[in-house]
């Protein structure tokens, strides 16, 4: 179980590294959003799954904790893409220009 937790958490960290690199390196708002929206949600979910694996061996009440973390995952899965959508819409309406190759 611990090995599985380690694998999941490190996978999540790799995804998160990709997210941050994407945030820093992508040229315009929309592609940054792309990196943040996908990578962030996925990495958080994977890390939280790893946390469930990590705690599932301790104590007899750990299934409640696991259930709560599953709830967190559920809410992140709903909330984070919604926020991404709202921000993307806002950026579109506010007039952020998409990046073109010959622009800069």
């Amino acid at each position: 179980m611990d090995i599985l937790a380690g694998i999941l958490i490190s996978t999540g960290l790799i995804f998160f590294l990709g997210t941050t690199i994407g945030l820093l390196r992508f040229p315009d708002f929309y592609s940054r959003m792309h990196a943040a929206g996908k990578g962030d949600t996925l990495s958080t979910v994977v890390i939280l799954l790893g946390c469930i694996c990590l705690i599932s061996t301790q104590g007899d009440l750990s299934w409640i904790l696991g259930l709560k973390i599953l709830l967190i995952i559920n809410f992140i899965f709903i909330g984070s893409p919604t926020a991404t959508h709202a921000m993307m819409d806002a950026g579109n309406k506010a007039g952020a220009k998409p990046w073109k190759k010959d622009a800069d």
């Binding site: 809410f75 709903i78 909330g79 919604t82 959508h85 709202a86 819409d89 309406k93």
Partner: protein
């Protein structure tokens, strides 16, 4: 065994907090300031958690993620986000800088007199706190010491703090509310040209909020009721309840919220919370005890004297929760609609 101030966890966060504060204040666009201030509050929440103050962390999480940034954003929404660049003023800034630096040097010179970080026998930890820690179970059967101290041992303190929140809500009403708001007519136009409301946008946001809001309210009730055994209590639950209704106001429309809760009802509920708190205290006096001494309520409440204290704490927390919830909503509807109660953020 991990020690409580986790140095590796706290020290980088403390440095980050200072960085965020500087960045937040040095951005020229006020929207940016508000958003970076939100991140600042996230960091603060992590610091409280790292120092073992889970209840404070919970409050900061609810307030920072749900409420305070929304207040700032709605204020900016009704005014303007730009800061025109001003030339000059350098001597003034230098003067202020000297003053602030002098203050800082004076404060820094006092540091060696303080006890070390994490000293168990410092004066703050040695006087009255050990009594609270060792007697909370015997007195009130509440494992969460913070709840006991909040509502029982220092009940007066919390009563007055709740009153302060109440007064702040009233103050905002009297400052911002305009007289035409009562008639609710459309032609009492906004003061500066506000953008028109577009009902066709953000269907996804509306549906997601429709899904999330019941869970938030359920969770908030859990937080209030379970505050005896885990972090939580009236303040946190009230803020989360208020934030859920603020989310309704944001994702649907302000009118949608006001159709369900009239402003008169909101003000009444704010007063009812404080009233409930005070009445519980008065009930103790009628039962022959001191003000806010819940142990004397045991003829009314189930259980022996210690369990009666526990239930009295629960009643008081509900009062706090009602006040905090409705004052958050009251503050939001005033700030978001610039006192007109017709449309807003």
């Amino acid at each position: 065994m991990p020690s409580l101030p986790i140095w590796q966890f706290d020290v980088p966060l403390l440095i980050l907090v200072v960085l965020f504060a500087v960045v937040a204040l040095s951005i020229r666009n006020l929207m940016g300031t508000a958003i970076v201030f939100g991140a600042y509050s996230f960091m603060m929440c992590l610091i409280w958690a790292g120092m073992g103050a889970v209840d404070v962390a919970f409050t900061e999480a609810a307030v920072g993620a749900g409420v305070s940034t929304v207040f700032i954003v709605s204020t900016i929404y009704n005014t303007s986000a730009t800061m025109p660049p001003r030339p000059g003023g350098l001597p003034f800034k230098l003067f202020i800088g000297v003053v602030v630096t002098l203050t800082g040097v004076f404060l820094l010179s006092a540091i060696p007199d303080f006890p070390k970080w994490g000293e168990p026998n410092s004066p703050a930890n040695a006087t009255v706190a050990p009594y609270y820690i060792s007697n909370t179970i015997a007195d009130a059967h509440v494992p969460n010491i913070v709840t006991t101290v909040l509502a029982d041992y220092r009940g007066f303190d919390t009563l007055l703090e709740t009153t302060v929140v109440f007064i702040a809500c009233i103050a905002i009403y009297s400052i911002l509310r305009v007289d035409e708001a009562r008639s609710k007519t459309e032609d009492s136009g906004p003061v500066d040209a506000e953008p028109h409301y577009d009902p066709s946008d953000s269907l996804i946001v509306r549906q997601a909020s429709r899904f999330m809001v019941p869970f938030m309210q359920l969770f908030a009730l859990y937080v209030i009721a379970h505050g005896h055994y885990s972090p939580g209590g009236g303040f946190q639950g009230g803020v989360i309840l208020g934030a859920s209704l603020i989310l309704v106001a944001i994702s649907f429309d302000l009118k949608f919220l006001l159709a369900q809760w009239r402003e008169k009802q909101i003000m009444l509920m704010v007063a009812w919370g404080v009233f409930l708190y005070a009445v519980v205290g008065l009930g103790c006096v009628f039962m022959g005890g001191n003000y806010l001494d819940y142990g004397f309520l045991n003829p009314v409440l189930p259980g022996e004297q210690d369990m009666a204290r526990s239930h009295g704490i629960l009643l008081v927390e509900i009062g706090v929760g009602i006040t905090v919830m409705f004052s958050m909503i009251g503050i939001h509807i005033n700030l978001a609609s610039n006192g007109h109660f017709d449309r807003g953020l």
